[in-house]
């Protein structure tokens, strides 16, 4: 098959509740898949298994064909699987390039002895990556708090890209954004696709996934109830899969 990232037969239970039941999902490089489903369908849990927050009770994960033991968030990050959660996890009190380099700040030598932060370099590198993703932020020295929602999303994405993400998981990426910004984020996703990154989008907004995704996976009550190629399906069909009034499958 040659999937970039594959989850096979994943089952996750919490006490007596089965949150994810024997779900298999595959993602190719340069592909965008959307995972949709109603609340409680298990989307978030599945994602958390993939990104190392939860360990599956059954099933396996494969990355680039190899068996991948993703048992902590760090393990996922090391493989290049980045997750952007709804709250973005940006430090509001710090500026754009500080956030992009958070935890991996660049240093330079001062007077040959001391290690100090290399602000210019970080600023420069951030500019580059933002430019390559065609994101416009007037000044990288602005702190996050003064940025719009779309710009924050862009910063979070840039951070992941800078860390050489191969797989980007986005949880409700357009939630709460103005319409114009939503389309900017989606354009960004397309650019990521063009760079060969695999993207998983979890969302309630069918409109979003219909505009950028290649494939759609529908979850209901913890199960994978249907996988469709986006171009070959319709919102109606997806909705009925989500709520359970099954139509004839392809």
């Amino acid at each position: 098959m040659g999937y970039l990232l594959e989850a096979r037969n994943i089952t996750k239970r919490f006490g007596g509740l089965v949150a994810v039941n024997n779900v298999s999902v595959g993602l190719n490089a340069g592909e965008v898949i959307g995972i949709v489903g109603d609340n409680g369908a298990g989307k978030s849990t599945l994602i958390k298994v993939i990104s190392g927050v939860h360990r599956p009770d059954e099933g396996q994960l494969f990355f680039m064909g190899q068996d991948a033991k993703i048992d902590t968030p760090m393990a996922a990050l090391k493989l290049g699987i980045e997750t952007i959660y709804q709250d973005l996890a940006l430090a509001e009190n710090m500026n754009v390039y500080s956030n992009i380099f958070l935890g991996r700040e660049k240093l330079k030598k001062f007077l040959g002895v001391l290690n100090v932060l290399d602000h210019e370099s970080m600023h420069g590198e951030s500019r580059k990556i933002l430019k390559s993703l065609e994101i416009e932020i007037p000044s990288l020295r602005n702190i996050i708090r003064v940025l719009s929602g779309g710009q924050r999303q862009a910063v979070a994405i840039s951070r992941s890209i800078y860390w050489d993400a191969r797989v980007l998981i986005m949880d409700e990426p357009t939630a709460g954004l103005a319409v114009a910004e939503q389309s900017k984020v989606l354009k960004l996703v397309n650019r990521l696709k063009a760079q060969g990154i695999g993207v998983i989008i979890i969302t309630h907004q069918l409109h979003d996934v219909f505009s950028v995704s290649d494939r759609l996976i529908v979850m209901r009550r913890g199960e994978n109830v249907g996988e469709r190629i986006t171009k070959q399906t319709s919102p109606d069909e997806i909705v009925s899969l989500i709520i359970g009034a099954e139509t004839v499958e392809t």
């Binding site: 940006l90 009190n93 958070l102 935890g103 700040e105």
Partner: protein, 382 residues
Amino acid sequence: MPWDSRGLHTPHPPNSEGTRNYKTNTAMGESIGKTRPQLIEVMTKNWASFFLLILLVVFSFTGKGFFSLANLQTIVHLSTVLLLLAAAETFVIISGGIDLSVGMVMGFTTIISSKIMQIMFKAEIAQGTCMLVGSVVGLVICIVPGLISGLLVARYRVPSFIATLGIWGVTFGVQLKISGGYTIPFLPPKLVDIGNGFLIYVHPGKALSFFKRPPGIEATQIRELIRIIPNSFVFLFVVLVVAWHLLRNTQFGQHTYAVGGSMDAAIRAGIDVRKHLVKIYVLSSFLAGLAGVFNVFQAGLGNFTRFSAMYELFAIAGVIIGGASLMGGKGRIFGSIIGVLIIGVLEIGLLTSGVEPFYRFIAVGVILIVAVVIDQLFPDLF
């Protein structure tokens, strides 16, 4: 309401689901770029510095001899301890916590250092050695309370307010026990010379000397002596510069701001937040220890910290006045210095103006409130 409900450090930040704040949105999602700062902005951002200047001006009129080299140096000299404690608090507060134990850790260190010096001096060991050993031991032991606080906060998720309050109690008790409630006397006399000495002594028109009074000066001529740059100032300068550097130019500083601004972001960025917090509280404790050792040099005696001294509260007040936020993520060493100097100038200024000193309590209280209100009005000024 915008503040965390008690302005205290919470190991679990309150649920921030959907708290994205788009208040500065404009159409097309452009942010408000940094325009050239207007005068009003500059003034409000630096209101504390302006206020300090105003205080200096006012007091030079109302107080005799206020605006003199000697007096100004005295203010800084007397504020040394508080400045060191404020430096300690700056780190902790930026990280989103609070350290209520700094005053007592200082007293604890003072007592231990001075006790050792006393014992050694009595055993007729050379003064220099006494002072050195006493200081070093003090500086090593002072790390312990910080280590405990840090572990409690980082590992056991005890709110910093409580953890440091507990340490406050414990160190208070211990220092009192060791000292028996009395100041520790009979310390090497050279202490005072070092602690209260100056770099340069000038006898106008006659002599100039370093570190010591010019020899051959008579008692009647001492009043003519001009003293420049207290030793304490040098010590203070070095410590504060290092602290400033740490905060501004190192990864450690960046991470401190990150942890205070958004612990989640820090964790997800791979920062070992637990370890970092422990380091923060150890640093705070160490700076308090420095203050404690300095205290021995300044007073020449081992003074325990009284219950009513409230050093930590004034240190915190100074840091807040200087622009830090109790919610974390904000603050500067320079700001804290200004804040503490305001308090110091107030105290001395009121004294020289013949006003009862307890007014400073009221004054500090009011200024503190003003500081916070301004912070609320202009939250984005860094």
